[in-house]
Symmetry: C2
Amino acid sequence: MNLADAHIAIVGMGLMGASLGYDLQGYCRRVTGVVRRPEAVEEAVLAGCVNDATLDARATVAEADLVVLATPVRTVLRQIAELGPHLRPGGILLDMGSTKGQICGAMAGLPDHVQGMGGHPMCGKEQAGISAAEAGLYKNCTFVLCPLPRTTVETQTLVNELVQFIGAQALVVEPERHDRLVAAISHLPYLTACALVAHVVAVAEEDAVVWDVAASGFRDSSRVAASDVRMLMDILLTNRKAVLDAIEDYQGRLAVLHDRLENADEAELGILLGEIAGARRGWRLHYS
Amino acid sequence: MNLADAHIAIVGMGLMGASLGYDLQGYCRRVTGVVRRPEAVEEAVLAGCVNDATLDARATVAEADLVVLATPVRTVLRQIAELGPHLRPGGILLDMGSTKGQICGAMAGLPDHVQGMGGHPMCGKEQAGISAAEAGLYKNCTFVLCPLPRTTVETQTLVNELVQFIGAQALVVEPERHDRLVAAISHLPYLTACALVAHVVAVAEEDAVVWDVAASGFRDSSRVAASDVRMLMDILLTNRKAVLDAIEDYQGRLAVLHDRLENADEAELGILLGEIAGARRGWRLHYS
């Protein structure tokens, strides 16, 4: 099956689901949005990100060729169990959850007639919801894919076509390895940004002028602290061990910086900060 | 004296000095760039950010109406002592250094015939040097001003006119208070970003794919770690006590997040993260 001939069901019309809808609608045979709130049916249709929308998840996943779960991680876990068995024979279940270990574990329990594939597009923004959705959100992002041992070549081909069509780069990674990597570059930065905001809030209680002097450095360093808390709670709680390990390693590295500054160990501090600046500058050019 | 009639000498043609030159040149009677490297004389003139440039700091500050020190903090400290006494009677010395306690302390030692004013525009970017300079860099930024006890109204009026002309908002703050506030929103975020990059570098030593999955969250959270190290070393070492205090408070707040996650204390973790997200979202709109 080609992507153009496919009926896609997107479960969840938030930032990720609706943005995917904008990209696929008009190209795929049909894009159906599955929502939970009755008002959201009309919202999704009027937004133009789907051909049609419905509350009836079971009937929709039974018809669709490819079902994309675009919900928070623990909702994905529940939907794999609740909706997975209702897919048509050969139907594909792809998720876009931000952690992959528990999700791919749940997918391993899908009935034999259903194809499963874990996915995680490495993009997003701190605004949530259909109003923040946009065509092209996935352009140039890395789209992690975690096939199951029994995922067929046909399934992988269709999912790859989708990834390519939305302008993303597929990267096949094992679920546990994915979770360790995103703990470092996504979940840890969220918590360090939260601790930073918590510090500034405490300073502001004594002296509110701190908000007036805060500028682009604070803005960027703290941006992800404004992320959707429900989504992040699911992420943290399904990747707890890797996130705790990352925090602990980070705490050690911050303590080194603290101690070199405390000792006014100028040569050693300068060498370390220079290495760090070089590493950050050497990171992929289009992200600098 | 009006800004338009003034001869401005800008000492240091880096990002901040050259950007100020772009804004003032053509409006002020004359803008002279003072540089250290012989090649930089021609660079500054060809860049178009000054009317003329020179290596001769002493002769220039003796002629100028307003001398702006746009150099790293510890160079500012040296230049206050070396150049300050050579200003013409009534000449104004303004600096743009990122910490103010030691600088305003040094300015208090200026001869009576020189007017001094501490300044800190809350803007910048991680790129350094004249090639990164741009007109309008100061637009909409907060420009902290620290007048000395003997700074005249006339001096304050001219400096305010300059701040207004470049589109910034003047904010008068005592030097020590300034240093505590910027420790929270600028110096701490620099070090937390550095610790984050150091963590990812360590992860990358085991698994370099981490750089491929890093996306906008890591990009923004770590951006300031690529800042000019020489400039930052001066900042950290002249604001050591406030920065160490900020790190220690931050470490406590990160430890709370760690412990709530470790205990899977979902209700308590959610409340805290929700408060933090709300505080970050409530910050000034134009910085969101």
